[in-house]
Amino acid sequence: MKRPDGRVVITPTLLALSATLSATVALTLATPASAQSTDPIKIGVIAEAQAVAGASIPQAAQLAADEINAKGGVNGRKIEIVSYDNHSSAAESVRAFQRAANEDHVNAVIASYISEVVLALEPWTGRLKTVMVTPGAASDVITQNIAKDYDNLKYTFHGYLTSTSLAEQVCSAAQDLLVKDLHMKTAVVMSEDAAWTTPLDAEYVKCLPQIGLKVLDHIRVSPDFTPIYNKIEGEKPDVMITGISHVGVQPTVQWKQQEVPIPMLGISSQATNSSFWNDTNGAVEGVLYQGVSGPDVAVTPKTLPFVSAFKQKYGNFPSYCGYTAYDEVYYIADAISRAGSTDSDKLVDAMEKTDYVGTIGRVQFKGKDSPNPHALKVGPDTITGLMLQWQDGKQVNLWPAGVANGKLKFPKFIKVGSAD
């Protein structure tokens, strides 16, 4: 049976369907029952289990819990990880958070690498008085919100670098690798359109001129990069400074297919995944990206033992948020131990005093009076970050010099310095 207006009949069906799908879940705001001293300590993990970056979060958290439990737990209490797959959706994350706090009575939550998701969860940390640490979101707004409403939002901790810190690390690395070594003078900033790149770009535009790279243009991009690369090529910069995460594959593949002769350096979150070479069929060759970890890079004495334990247990390498999630379980456990309680307010006090050497460096949080309370401190004494490059299917670390295990090398189609 065909109808002359086949498309008209769709509307009610889709409407009905979406109405069913979006049926709201009623909330019960129960007070968490106070835990007995022998009960396990529960840590909820809300993560993007279907994404390469997110899949490592519950796995690494479980690994840390197993290790702590094998050594007797925290003051005799075992750690139990309760995982929730959020399907990369903010709405599902909020439901998972409510369930974690109200039904499963978790003592703390580790949540998400997507800034939009963490920003949606943040008010709920105050409403449900539950400590949350993010292993991978970057937006500075997360901690700026804490500064504005400390009493309510003090339960949120930023367990990964803020976008501003990321940009600062990119600038430091670019100064050594591009300005000092290759005498580059100009750059175009190219970032995806998302919450985390707004502060990233602002810092790029500020710090690049300070290290001697003039910013010729600043482009916010969408999935189609062909016109963008043509435009950037016309501006003849020495380098493209990137801020790409969620759209990672397309810009990388188009860069290679079009043989854009300008190197890329900056944040390319998906390039930190060991599977990215296969996902792009090697198009990532030569891409420079900031990371907090890399294969065979002993950032701290804990890094390589963690990587090998993870590889042994799960058969693949952890993503960047695997490292941070692993550390987070350890320092949450440490804070509970120091607080002598799982009471959220006492836990916040103890978390603020965290001084823990983890897999990516030394973890300390910025104080209440900082413009970014509960953001990680960065710098030579805490977390420096790395600048890595994909070379022949391998992630090679180039910066800082002390932990470098390779030399800068570009694919043939890149013409260094020919632009000016």
């Binding site: 049976m1 065909k2 109808r3 002359p4 207006d5 086949g6 498309r7 009949v9 769709i10 069906t13 369907l17 993007e48 279907q50 994404a51 390469v52 899949a55 990369s88 359109d193 916010r220 991009v221 969408s222 999935p223 189609d224 990069f225 062909t226 016109p227 963008i228 043509n230 990672g248 594959v249 397309q250 593949v253 188009q254 297919q257 079009q258 043989e259 998906q270 995944n273 599977s275 296969n278 996902d279 792009t280 069929n281 198009a283």
Partner: protein
Amino acid sequence: MLFWQILIDGFAISSLYALGATGFALIFGVSGVLNLSHGALMVAAVVAAWAAGNDLHVGPYAGAALGVVVGLAASLLTYFLIVRPLQSSRKIRQEEKEIFILTATLLWGIMIQELIAYFYTNNAKTVAPIVQGVVSLAGVRTPSNEIFTAVVCWLVIGVLWLLVNRTRAGKAVLAASMNPRGVTLLGIELSQVYIAVWAIYGVLVGVAGVLLGMFLGVSSYSVGPLTASAFSIVVLGGLGSVSGALIAAYVVGYLETLTAYLISPAYRTIPALLLLVAVMYVRPRGLLGRR
């Protein structure tokens, strides 16, 4: 320079749209089915081609072939598992079947999408390109893969045209799209025609998917947008009209490319959608719609 860039880029993407939408239009024209699992079938073909290269370590040709085979298999599975049982059901009233099939294919697409995300993550995958490198076309450095994409798309569309217009089976398909009752009166089993159409559709979906995978890469998130893009092209061209879909594919492809180059890539899809709305008002049957 900019003119040539837009012309070349727009041609490649439009050809891909044309191939993707042709199958979608064919299915609707012949059997009245709007297959909302279209995007999911395409993504399944891409992921199969990708997995063949990375897990089975086969070459780009074998990988692409496997992708097309999976597109074909997924299409036939959709027909036999989802569409045919609903079409032949006696429990559903005839006039409601269209809605049932629409909903069922939509849900089927979501199931495929979730399965892909579960087994292969929701990160984007690219298929190893068969041709690499760049060539200079009118001063524009063009990836050879872009030319390859356009050529293959037109070869496949050409073969399809020959099949429909020059073979007996193809003529039966064409006849069925004009008058299903008349075809049965000629002694042609309509269900055989449907199977043939779904098989052709499967190959088209497979080829379009694999080419898209080589060109831009896709993830499980691409399922919705791919279905939506085929759907709007087909509505614009006129539901059921294959030649309308071809023209509409180029209108949409060039409109998007023009927007991307002259305004901003961020607004790339907006003018095409506005055009679609305008066509709905002025000419609801689309550019070449017959009904």
